[in-house]
């Protein structure tokens, strides 16, 4: 049974068709990376996966059931921005996942249960290199540090599906490389299914087991809003990693034209 399935999925905003003809089926454990021109509907697709954007037509199924119309702990997310809670420290932002699931009433842990959760949070924070910034607030962190925190936070919940919207855009190359390794390791260890949007095609090919290119399937210069984007390339990259660079080059050129 496939984990996520789309059948003729469409998204319109009023008369604007943003996405259409989306048909795919993703197995558990796949790492899907999504590239595509700015404004083509990648984030919109992610929001539909989250359950915060309604489906105009077609079906989006998770384990053969329609996807829930609201976010839930089974689908973790890292947004382009606003991804951490500004009123919590680094530690607080990481602890909160545990606190919410273990303390239904107050959403806060005390004593030994807190210490336990703290251990787990510390471990994750060390992995993203924030172990020295535990008591800092997000506004005291650089953009890159905030994004690392968001990743640590999302991974605390061990969600089945992880949705990432350009998570590494604000990172410098060194840290970006570390994050790549971290995400890859956690993806393997926790057997996550990941959907990741990126602008960096090399990154898409380096991380994904499957690369999707979103693009308009047909362009009418007189009515640019009449046709939406769909998945124009669906490349299985794990089996033939050697081709990756040339494929990447090919796609980059395609997108540029």
């Amino acid at each position: 049974m496939s984990l996520v399935q789309a059948k003729g999925l469409e998204k319109h905003y009023g008369r604007d068709v943003v996405l259409e003809r989306l048909n795919f089926s993703v197995e558990p454990g796949e790492f899907v990376t999504i590239v595509g021109a700015s404004g083509c509907g990648k984030t919109t697709f992610l929001k539909m996966m989250l359950g915060t954007e309604s489906i105009t037509r077609g079906q989006l199924l998770v384990e053969d059931k329609p996807i829930p119309g609201e976010p839930g702990p089974d689908r973790g997310v890292v947004f382009q921005k606003y991804s951490v809670l500004p009123h919590l420290t680094v530690l607080g932002n990481t602890l909160i996942a545990e606190e919410l699931s273990r303390s239904k009433l107050l959403g806060k842990l005390f004593g030994s249960r807190r210490r336990q959760a703290r251990e787990a949070a510390l471990e994750r924070l060390t992995e993203v290199g924030l172990e020295n910034a535990l008591d800092k607030y997000p506004h005291e962190l650089s953009g890159g540090m905030q994004q690392r925190l968001a990743i640590a936070q999302a991974l605390m919940m061990r969600p089945r599906i992880l949705l990432l919207d350009e998570p590494f855009g604000a990172l410098d190359p060194g840290i970006r490389q570390d994050m790549h390794e971290l995400v890859t390791r956690l993806w393997r260890e926790q057997q996550l299914t990941i959907f990741m949007i990126t602008h960096d095609i090399d990154e898409a090919f380096a991380l994904g087991t499957r690369v999707w290119v979103f693009d308009k399937w047909r362009d009418d210069p007189h009515a640019p809003e009449a046709y939406g984007a769909t998945i124009t390339y669906d490349l299985d990259v794990e089996r033939n990693r050697e081709d990756a660079p040339s494929q990447a080059k090919q796609i980059e050129e395609d997108m540029h034209s």
Binding site: L50, L85, I96, E99, L100, G107, M157
Partner: protein, 275 residues
């Protein structure tokens, strides 16, 4: 020479500049007051500073023969108590309703239009109804403050809750939060500092309603005193009392600001430049 918008006075210059207008006002007052007194030594309208100081000192030290209490302190205690209770009740109510209204669309739908309309009713115009419902004692004064400022506070907090990026709510839900937990751990802590800053704004109105209430029926209080001596044009009481109220208001305002800065540093990030 830098452009005018880039010229920033240094600390010492800033303090000096800040004092300037106050000195100027004091100077002008002295001049006019002296001139009036030269013409009519009994002038009550703009009393001389010495006269005000004397009257004020009297009110702050001499017990009233009839009540046995010292007027200034008795008035201040009575007013501050009313203000504190009134603003306290308003703040708690605003936090609860702001949270509900900002957090739950189903609660907001009936509640928000109601509170918009209620906030537009001038409370002074419906005093008789307030008297009937809440008596004419301490209760009525507290209620006037509550009725006067709570709708404003609720509207502001609801707006603030709605302005929080939706991503935060979504994020919390992906971390397993229930509706209750989203309100408790995402909205509530972010609304609390906003409540403090809005309350600071509303304190001006709160004082206003307090004074209005004390003008209508009271036995002590700062507003009571001002309206009582108004009939003798006793500016030597009114002016120091107004200054005293302003000082109290300033202290409360700054105290709230300090508390907020100290407790919610993350809330005050953007306003550093404003100091």
């Amino acid at each position: 020479m830098k452009r005018l918008i880039n010229l920033k006075p240094r600390r010492a210059a800033r303090v000096a500049l800040a004092l300037l207008p106050f000195l100027l006002i004091a100077f002008v007052y002295l001049g006019v007051s002296n001139a009036r007194h030269a013409e009519n030594p009994n002038d009550r309208l703009l009393p001389l500073p010495a006269q005000m100081a004397e009257t004020f000192a009297g009110m702050a030290t001499e017990a009233n023969v009839r009540t046995g209490s010292i007027p200034l302190w008795a008035d201040t205690a009575a007013s501050l108590q009313r203000l504190g209770i009134g603003v306290g009740i308003s703040a708690v109510a605003a936090l609860v309703f702001g949270l509900l209204s900002g957090g739950l669309p189903l609660f907001r739908a009936p509640f928000s239009p109601l509170i918009t309309v209620v906030s537009l009713i001038p409370p002074l115009a419906i005093l008789p109804i307030l008297f009937i419902a809440f008596g004419t004692g301490e209760m009525a004064k507290v209620v006037l403050i509550v009725v006067g400022i709570t709708p404003f506070l609720i509207r502001d907090l609801t707006g603030e809750a709605l302005r929080l990026p939706n991503e935060q709510r979504i994020k919390a839900q992906t971390l397993g939060a229930s509706s209750w937990q989203v309100m408790l751990r995402v909205l509530l802590p972010q609304l609390t500092p906003r409540l403090i800053s809005t309350t600071r704004l509303a304190l001006g109105s709160a004082w206003l309603f307090l004074i209005a209430a004390e003008a209508i029926a009271a036995q002590e209080g700062l507003g009571y005193r001002i309206f009582l001596v108004r009939r003798y044009l006793a500016m030597d009481v009114i002016l120091p009392y107004v200054a005293w109220i302003t000082l109290l208001a300033f202290v409360i305002d700054q105290a709230l600001l300090w508390i907020s800065r100290w407790s919610f540093p993350w809330y005050h990030v953007d306003e550093k430049a404003a100091s």
